[in-house]
């Protein structure tokens, strides 16, 4: 190529020499590079399509599987470079786009968009009538969440970076929710819409010895939910109540929630001396909401507290809630001598929710007195933590670590109404010892362990971490140039011996992974994990207060593998075949199997054209709920065109 250019220049040179002045040669840098991945998916689904949609939700049709391109401007006018990537468009349940545009020393712009569909309809989850063969699809939904984020960083000076950002998170969908009317519960249709807009801006000051980030932001919230019904709805309780059948004939229930918040963020780091690093942050937010609630319902209904049967009810409610939330952190790292580091960190997190409002409930048929009730509550949480750690590089190959953490706090929340209302409070007092080491005896072997053991005087909840040991150990060995192994062991053992609680929780995970390249043409990646979970805790049966024990077990095998093989090539083009997939098999409280084998074939047709096909199988089964199983074959085939 270079010789060609040289010859050409020799030929052209005499001609150019006659001209008074030659224009500079245009840049040969490509302006647009990238690839587009188009395909078609065929599916064959057997078993429960509702559960398939809840777990996988991939269907037939043409797809834009991926798109990736870079646009560069050799003249650097509006931008130096724009990178765009997009994935899974054309009907898939998760679509994404990302765009990054930069101009050196002027700006950096990022845009991110995601659209994720959530479908959830599991008959076993919330269908009290299932045993009678009636499936009312209770507590199911189909929503889409769309998230957009824009951020613009400006570089007016080398060390001062102002930034502006905007984000929107919105959700919209339908579902089936329940209308609870004292004795009976009625599955009803539901519309949901919510959106949160987030605006923020600030400045980063980045100097050699210190940095500060100041950010001010705000959000606005809108959350509308409508539940409605018309026609006879017998609900979940089919038995007469005091001789009278209960049913719903009409419902209109609406929540109109608006909210906003301001928030402030101030971050600071510095290294005033070569042996000191300082860190500090102050975070404050104050979200608040205003709620309008309306409810109209008709049918044969009962008011439990006065045993009043009625046919029409109206309720109107209004409430406001505020939640000032302050967090702060100060920390430093000292390096008094070369091999020793001391890390000290203190943090506080204070959150108070205060709410007040009024709910007016009126029985309109037969006419009865209006019952106003005050809506008011207070939740207060104060959390503090102090931690110190000492890290010593005992040798160039061994680092030892030890430390101590003390966490303390208190919380208040409304007590249940049946206990007389008011507030109940609890405390947190926890002391934890920290230890660990990192050992690299030879370049190819790394051993690492992290241990945390704690004892508590108080904890907020019965299942909170109380007296616990948490440990992770990891070994990584490069057995040969092309073979590396990794083993990971992790454990969490939490005990709360308080009489009546007797919580015994043990979670253990053992994992082994291998990366092997036996030849230039073959790569093997594999991973196996064995996880076991045991949880025992005492509780009282709510009706008879008889002591019971909640037992939960989850013992699982998980494996992932992918073998990638470069097939014999032709015309300097190399087809590739990859196969493997994952499996999950569990026993215990909810025995489940989930298989996802796959095979991929990519065959280059020309230098810039690739034919790709992928086959996947999804097999899902549950022993206790075998009607929820499904099997699906997916074949996706298409072309990747690159430029």
């Amino acid at each position: 190529m270079k010789i060609k250019h040289l010859l050409a220049s020799f030929v052209i040179f005499p001609l150019l020499a006659q001209e008074p002045a030659a224009n500079p040669a245009p840049s040969t840098e490509p302006v647009l590079t990238g690839s587009i991945d188009l395909g078609y998916r065929f599916t064959s689904i057997g078993g429960s399509s509702d559960v398939y949609n809840s777990v996988v939700n991939l269907h037939d049709g043409p797809r834009l599987i991926g798109l990736q391109f870079t646009l560069t401007d050799p003249h650097h006018r509006l931008f130096d470079r724009i990178d765009v990537r997009a994935d899974n468009w054309g009907g898939d349940p998760y679509n994404s786009v990302h765009l990054n545009a930069t101009k050196k020393n002027i700006y950096d712009f990022n845009f991110d968009y995601r659209d994720i569909a959530y479908f959830n309809l599991l008959p076993s989850f919330a269908d009290p009538m299932l045993g009678n063969g009636i499936v009312l699809d209770e507590d199911s939904y189909f929503t889409r969440r769309r998230m957009s984020d824009f951020q613009l960083d400006l570089f007016p000076a080398h060390r001062i970076v102002p930034f502006l950002a905007y984000g929107r998170d919105s959700g919209q969908g339908t579902g089936i929710t329940n209308f609870v009317s004292d004795v009976n519960v009625y599955p009803v249709a539901d519309n949901m819409f919510d959106k949160t807009d987030n605006y923020r801006g600030g400045v980063r000051l980045e100097f050699n010895r210190w940095h500060a980030t100041l950010e001010q932001g705000g959000t606005t919230l809108r959350d509308d939910q409508d539940a409605y019904a018309s026609g006879f709805n017998g609900g979940n309780v089919y038995q007469p109540y005091f001789g009278q059948m209960l049913y719903l004939t009409a419902l209109s229930q609406a929540y109109g929630v608006t909210g906003d918040s301001i928030y402030t963020k101030a971050l600071f780091t510095a290294n005033p001396l070569p042996w000191v690093d300082l860190y500090g942050q102050f975070l404050y937010s104050q979200p608040q909401t205003n709620v309008n609630y309306t409810q109209y319902d008709n049918g044969s209904l009962v008011l439990l507290r006065s045993l009043l049967f009625y046919t029409g009810e109206q309720a109107l409610g209004y409430s406001e809630a505020k939640q000032p939330h302050t967090s702060g952190n100060l920390a430093f790292e000292l390096r008094p001598v070369k091999r020793v580091r001391v890390r000290e960190s203190w943090m506080t997190d204070r959150l108070h929710t205060a709410a007040a409002g009024l709910l007016t409930d009126m029985i309109v048929q037969p006419a009865a007195a209006t019952t106003p009730s005050l809506l008011a509550s207070l939740l207060a949480v104060n959390y503090n933590q102090e931690q110190v750690e000492l890290l010593v590089d005992a040798t160039s190959k061994l680092t030892l670590r030890g430390g101590y953490r003390y966490s303390w706090g208190d919380a208040q929340e409304p007590a249940p109404l049946l206990t007389g209302g008011g507030q109940e409070s609890s405390q947190l007092r926890q002391q934890a010892g920290l230890a660990g080491f990192h050992f690299r005896p030879i370049q190819k072997l790394t051993l690492n362990a992290d241990f945390e053991g704690a004892a508590s005087d108080h904890a907020y909840f019965r299942t909170s971490l109380y007296n616990y040991q948490r440990m992770t150990a990891r070994a990584r060995y490069q057995l040969a140039a092309k073979l590396s192994l990794q083993a990971v062991f992790s454990l969490l053992d939490n005990q709360n011996p308080t009489p009546g609680v007797n919580y015994d929780f043990l979670s253990r995970q053992n994992s082994l992974s291998v990366s092997w390249t036996p030849s230039k043409r073959v790569t093997v990646l594999g991973e196996y994990t064995r996880s076991t979970l045991r949880s025992n805790i005492n509780y009282l049966d709510p009706e008879f207060l008889s002591p019971e024990q909640s037992l939960y077990r989850d013992n699982a095998h998980s494996a992932n593998a992918l073998i990638d093989v470069a097939l014999p090539g032709y015309a300097k083009l190399t087809p590739r075949l990859a196969f493997g997939g994952s499996l999950f098999i569990s026993t215990g409280s909810r025995p489940t199997t989930f298989y996802q084998p796959l095979a991929r074939l990519s065959v280059p047709i020309r230098k810039n054209l690739l034919w790709k096909s992928e086959y996947r199988y999804y097999g899902y089964g549950e022993i206790f709920y075998n009607y929820e199983g499904f099997r699906a074959h997916l074949l996706e085939t298409g072309f990747t065109i690159s430029h």
Binding site: F268, L283, E527
Partner: protein, 312 residues
């Protein structure tokens, strides 16, 4: 060059030295202090790396006045004159072979004073001696070459160490990470955070969960305290679960009853109970399918705007 001069000096001095008492060798054993030679010196032997760096964000180090101007390579590898003279690998600092702490110091020389590192003292990675170079490819090519940006590539990088966590994502109910719709860094800040498990924050100090689940952010008139005190992980297994809705128990009632029990039978306000969340005796007969999933009635389990019992 230096060794040739020393040899010539030795030859000239030898006769004189032979006539007198043995003298100390003339400065030949004194260690030479390495000096900076500039990135251009590195280019001929390390052309591919040099070219890659020029197109990466680290390329701007070469243009930083008053700091590392024209010395981008030596900003990490230290002064390179010895290595340039001898071409020996041992004559220059190789961050890949240093302890994690020393490697990190090299990176933090420039990067400490940036907002991403504000949570470093609490960082699980820093605590476990995971060096910056474990994730960042310092010689990476192109503006996005230092670390993966695409969600699937980020997940692959994290899964390389966190194999057991990645195994949880192979369970049927999980966040959409294996599909590439989300990445680990959507929820976790690998550089560290004051929140547990290097958790990201949203709107200053709220959990990152609310970035996508804004409708559950509240504040609610009636909060469900564990959401605020212990986070979503009190009931959900966010990496993946065999239980619907990523719940931590196979049936909802057990998840609820493990906390909501043990209240003394006598009604009345309870001061300093052993734990929050106890409830008084109720008419719920757990043998009835109606009461097996508490969220059939207590719908607003994340918090309610109108009902203290979270019924509507």
């Amino acid at each position: 060059m230096r060794s040739n001069s020393a040899a010539l000096f030795l030859l000239l001095c030898w006769p004189a030295g032979a006539q007198t008492a043995p003298a100390a060798p003339a400065a030949s054993t004194a260690p030479t202090v390495p000096t900076y030679v500039g990135s251009q010196t590195c280019q001929p032997c390390h052309e591919d790396i040099y070219n890659a760096i020029q197109k990466s964000p680290h390329g701007q180090v070469d243009t930083q006045k008053h700091r590392w101007e024209h010395e981008a390579c030596e900003s990490c590898h230290g002064p390179g004159s010895k290595h340039a003279d001898s071409a020996e690998a041992s004559a220059i600092v190789n961050p890949a072979k240093l302890t994690a702490a020393r490697t990190d110091r090299i990176c933090l020389n420039c990067h400490l004073n940036q907002p991403t590192h504000i949570g470093r003292p609490e960082s699980v990675h820093a605590r476990n001696q995971v060096a910056c170079t474990a994730c960042h490819s310092v010689h990476g090519h192109g503006p996005n070459g230092l670390v993966p940006r695409k969600a699937a590539a980020v997940n692959e990088l994290c899964a390389g160490c966190h194999t057991a966590v990645w195994a949880e994502f192979q369970r049927p109910f999980k966040h959409r990470l294996p599909e590439g719709a989300m990445s680990c860094v959507d929820c976790h800040n690998p550089h560290g955070s004051i929140f547990q498990a290097n958790f990201q924050s949203y709107a200053a100090n709220e959990p990152a969960c609310f970035k996508c689940h804004g409708n559950l952010r509240g504040p609610f008139t009636y909060e469900h305290a564990p959401v605020r005190l212990e986070g979503c992980g009190a009931c959900h297994e966010p990496h993946g679960s065999a239980n619907p809705r990523m719940l931590a128990r196979a049936e909802v009632r057990y998840l609820c009853l493990e906390c909501h029990t043990n209240r003394p039978a006598a009604p009345g306000p309870i001061k300093n109970p052993p734990a929050l969340g106890g409830v008084p005796p109720a008419f719920h007969n757990l043998l009835s399918p109606q009461f097996r999933n508490c969220t059939v009635c207590h719908l607003k389990v994340h918090g309610s705007y109108v009902s203290q019992e979270l019924l509507k």
